[in-house]
């Protein structure tokens, strides 16, 4: 099947195991467009409401309806929320993939399947439960066209009974899911109950997986990264938003539109923002830079193919020194690639996006909380540094639901950077746009519309001198480029510092960024628990690298850089940034099959390289 690379057949072949509580993964294999998303969300939320740490990942095709889709839910009492490589419980709803899905399971897993599929004939080392969906459906739903949708809620009921989920929590989750659609909620609730009753009367529990109440999710929220980013941008004070629809970034702006309409329209009914769907990504970033030049907090959201188109404008933004925030919700490339699968594939490209010598700061959120908080960081940085700032999320983070502590209100006032008002200009008697007055490489700017005869400067992507005048003089060009390089050094001091998760003097150091974090946290435990290997861990939160990262490399004998791309892109960037004698310390762990990275793969790779 498409979502596990190979089956891990355990030693417990068919053996009865002790109970496995709050530590398993469920995979629902279905067809996209069949309405299973609601059912899966209810299942996820129920476990969450029972206080058990949970994560959900949707592995879906680039298609509107009719192709295989898998949704995995992981419950983990230890709080691991990365993808688990092994599937413990399969809900087989898709006849097309059911056999392959079943065959790839590890021994000891459980399968819930639709009666006509007869999957129980395939293997003897997994537990099978059969459900006559059509019969149950017919009993609870008189309208035949709704049956396809209701069918999904039946497996929720069956799973609730088998996993010992609290049906009161199922109902709460279900009613939240359908919100104001009471009729739909009732219909689905009846289906869930029917599934539960069927399981109670006709199925005998024979697998070890159950859920028990914990208190590890109290007060927490569930949100996807794109929605978190949208909230973050709204609270960061964004005013101009442009976009061109592209998976997996579209929902970021669509959610932002909803929030802004709700919370950023004044008492007079007028919007304190403008959101424009542009004709393409070229126009989207052109508008962002036009708005940034004129002083707005402006942004766009895109993915790899859009980033490719934005290269020209990215260079302009760097060279003319204009703020603008670009969210890259990375997906698998090159070209169209796998539009609905995740990767960290744009790192090296974005770092230097443009022809000519160019460098861009990148923020690297690993969680929904950071999608929120880094929105403010990005807008402050882009205006402080007067250069485009990229926020490198990915599909796994952006489109999947994650649990999180509630977001912290941004306490820092907005930093709007060095902008001269008419009064300041009058006092100063003029200004030179690109003069490094403060020694940080960042000049002063004025905004169009500033009411002073000396306010104007000439923004141009062609060669310019300190006064923004056209210049082809060798010294003007070189001095300007040197100042831009110096400004990038200033960026190192302003960007979010890496999070040093542990630094206990071990020989092995792991560096990761973005969504790899959740797998690495689990890998650290696996390395120590299973192999006795203790490792230190630094999580990058931004590019360029800061002194903490240089120190971390210097302090370890072997550094493993975790990249979700084929070419070890972050490692390549790090190579350019450290002393030659340090480069040989760098080792690479790469994951690039389109699926969210998992701990087991990292652990296996590191232990192999460590000779364990």
């Amino acid at each position: 099947m498409a979502t596990t690379e190979f089956a891990v057949h355990g030693a417990e072949h068919g053996a009865v195991r002790g109970p496995v509580v709050n530590d398993f993964s469920i995979q629902v294999a279905t067809v996209n467009g069949s309405g299973s998303q609601s059912a899966n969300t209810v299942l996820l939320r129920t476990i969450f409401q029972m206080g058990v740490p949970v994560s959900g990942k949707n592995m879906f095709p680039s298609n509107i309806a009719g192709l295989p889709t898998w949704y995995t839910i992981r419950a983990s009492k230890k709080g691991y929320i990365a993808r688990k490589k092994e599937i413990d419980f399969l809900v087989a709803m898709n006849p097309e993939t059911a056999r392959e899905d079943t065959m790839s399971l590890a021994s000891g897993a459980a399968v819930l399947y639709d009666e006509p599929l007869k999957l129980n004939e395939l293997r003897s080392d997994v537990t099978f439960y059969t459900v006559p969906y059509d019969k149950i459906c017919a009993a609870v739903c008189s309208e035949s066209k709704l049956r396809k949708l209701v069918k999904n809620m039946i497996y929720v009921g069956v799973m609730a009974q088998l996993l010992k989920l609290d049906m009161a929590e199922v109902e709460k989750a279900l009613r939240k899911q359908f919100a104001k659609k009471v009729k739909a909620a009732d219909l689905n609730w009846n289906a869930a109950k029917a599934g539960y009753d069927y399981a109670a009367s006709s199925l005998t529990k024979a697998d070890p997986f159950t859920v028990e109440r914990m208190n590890k999710t109290t007060g927490m929220i569930i949100i996807d990264g794109n929605a978190a980013a949208a909230l973050g941008c709204m609270f960061a004070g964004v005013t101009v938003v442009t976009w061109y629809p592209i998976t997996p970034s579209s929902s970021l702006v669509e959610t932002l539109i909803d929030y802004m309409k709700e919370y950023r329209v004044g008492d007079d009914g007028k919007a304190t923002f403008a959101i424009v769907q542009a004709e393409d990504e070229l126009a989207a970033i052109g508008m962002v830079l036009g708005a940034g030049w004129a002083g707005a907090r402006s942004m766009t959201a895109t993915a790899g193919p859009g980033i490719s188109l934005m290269a020209e404008f990215a260079g302009l933004g760097y060279y003319v020194e204009i703020p603008g925030v670009i969210w890259d919700i990375q997906r698998v490339g090159p070209s169209t690639g796998l539009p609905t699968r995740t990767a960290q594939g744009d790192i090296e490209f974005v770092a230097k996006l443009s022809h000519g010598d160019t460098r861009h700061p990148m923020l690297l959120p690993c969680s929904v909380a950071e999608c929120f908080s880094m929105a403010s960081d990005a807008f402050d940085l882009t205006e402080q540094l007067q250069t485009p700032v990229f926020v490198m999320s990915d599909l796994d983070l952006g489109m999947n639901n994650w649990m999180s502590e509630p977001f912290q209100y941004p306490e820092k006032p907005q930093n709007r950077g060095k902008v001269l008002t008419a009064e300041e200009l009058e006092r100063a008697g003029g200004f030179a746009r690109y003069k490094d007055v403060d020694g940080d490489g960042v000049g002063y700017r004025t905004l169009p519309g500033t009411d002073h005869p000396q306010a104007a400067w000439f923004a141009r992507g062609s060669g310019h001198n300190e006064n923004s005048g056209y210049s082809e003089r060798p010294d003007d060009y070189a001095n300007n480029m040197d100042r831009l390089a110096h400004k990038f050094e200033t960026a190192r001091t302003l960007i979010p510092k890496p999070e040093i998760v542990c630094n206990d003097g071990n020989e092995v150091g792991i560096i990761a960024y973005g969504t790899s974090h959740h797998a690495v946290v689990e890998t650290l435990d696996q390395l120590q628990g299973e192999y006795g290997v203790k490792a230190d861990y630094l999580r990058l939160r931004a590019y360029p690298f800061t002194s903490e990262t240089h120190d971390f490399v210097a302090a370890h004998k072997r550094i493993y850089m975790i990249d979700q791309n084929r070419d070890a892109q972050m490692l390549q960037l790090l190579k350019l940034d450290i002393a030659i004698e340090e480069i040989r310390k760098l080792r690479s762990v790469r994951h690039y099959n389109g699926l969210p990275i998992d701990a087991r793969s990292i652990t296996d790779d590191i232990t192999t390289q460590e000779g364990k």
Partner: protein, 346 residues
């Protein structure tokens, strides 16, 4: 010793002299039509009394796009990337809808590399003036045909253009621009009145100004040469713009003259040279423009005018204060809002 005071320089209604509207020294070729257009822009903005600090000049790449450096030095300017002036201008106008946006582009910048952004800008009816300085060739790369070159027009090298031209005016009218004109850099009076009328309009003004390239496209056989345009110019009407602040108005004959009241209260008087031409009729306007190609005419004048369509800023229903300078108290919702959002996600 003279006893009388030295004569004061003439000023406009906001107390500025025409010198306050000047820019840097042009680096374009002597006789370039673009320089004449720059002069007309200076005159129009001066005469209308538009504060240069309220103006942005945005351009793409090419000879035409260099020209904003040569007028109105007290205005912010952005010489951006090839064919992308529309998006940059759009962003700037969204950020500050109070500024007067002037986009300067060329035929290559607009009709070839920039045609995508051009057509979508027209659809939005963004308040701005879009001038195409149209000479039918790429000047900065030494004289290749552009997409507005007419069928059969000849390059200096003898190459004949065998592809049909893109008529930017016809496109603009069809797509939603609300003030579309064609003029000629050599027709001082018409261009000046048209530019002043453009400043009175709140919506996309698209002016295709034929602007001969003296170096690469001013020879016999070119349809964008001074001689060809002078010989083939066919004005639709005699333009007379009466600004709203003019104290003395002149009578006009409604029988022979169409009077249009502009957004700012100014009047645009079109003395009919073609009896049945109605510039407020979209279909007729496009038809007449297309006919002019068959007749080898350079049809000039206000081809289309619509003063009732909503512009992009109206449609967005944006707050009156420029978005760029909204205070944090307006752009950052309260702590209570975040609490509410968090509660909904539990």
């Amino acid at each position: 010793m003279a006893t009388t005071a030295a004569p004061q320089p003439k000023t406009n209604r906001i107390g500025l002299t025409v010198l306050d509207y000047r820019g840097g020294k042009t680096t374009l070729c002597a006789g370039c039509g673009h320089n004449a257009i720059s002069e007309r822009i200076i005159d129009a903005f001066y005469e209308m009394g538009v504060a240069p600090e309220r103006v942005i000049k945005v351009s793409g790449i090419g000879c035409s796009s260099k020209s904003p450096a040569y007028f109105m030095g007290r205005s912010h300017s952005f010489n951006s990337v090839h064919g992308r002036m529309p998006s940059v201008t759009t962003g700037a106008v969204l950020a500050n809808a109070k500024i007067v946006a002037l986009g300067v582009s060329g035929d290559g910048d607009t009709a070839s590399i920039g045609i995508g952004q051009f057509v979508h800008l027209m659809r939005r009816n963004l308040p701005m003036i879009y001038i195409i300085e149209d000479n039918g060739v790429y000047g900065l790369t030494k004289g290749q045909f552009s997409a507005t070159a007419d069928l059969g027009s000849k390059l200096k090298t003898g190459v004949i253009n065998d592809l049909p031209p893109i008529d930017t005016c016809a496109l603009a009218i069809m797509l939603g621009a609300t003030f579309v004109g064609r003029s000629f850099s050599g027709d001082k009076r018409q261009l000046q009145h048209m530019l002043k009328a453009a400043l009175a309009h709140r919506g996309t003004v698209m002016l295709d100004v034929i602007s001969p390239c003296t170096t690469f496209n001013d020879h016999e056989g070119s349809t964008k040469s001074y001689k060809f345009v002078k010989d083939h110019e066919e004005p639709l009407h005699d333009l007379n713009f009466v600004p709203h602040f003019n104290e003395i108005d002149v009578d006009y004959d409604p029988g022979t003259c169409l009077n249009v009241t502009m957004h700012d209260g100014s009047s645009l008087r079109l003395r009919k040279l073609e009896e049945d031409y109605d510039p407020t009729n979209k279909t007729e306007a496009v038809k007449r423009v297309m006919e002019s190609h068959d007749a080898d005419e350079v049809l000039t004048g206000v081809l289309y005018l619509n003063t009732t369509a909503p512009n992009f800023i109206d449609m967005i229903n944006m707050t009156d204060q420029p978005l760029a300078t909204l205070p944090e108290s307006v752009t950052r919702p309260s702590r209570a809002v975040l609490d509410e959002c968090m509660e909904a996600l539990r």
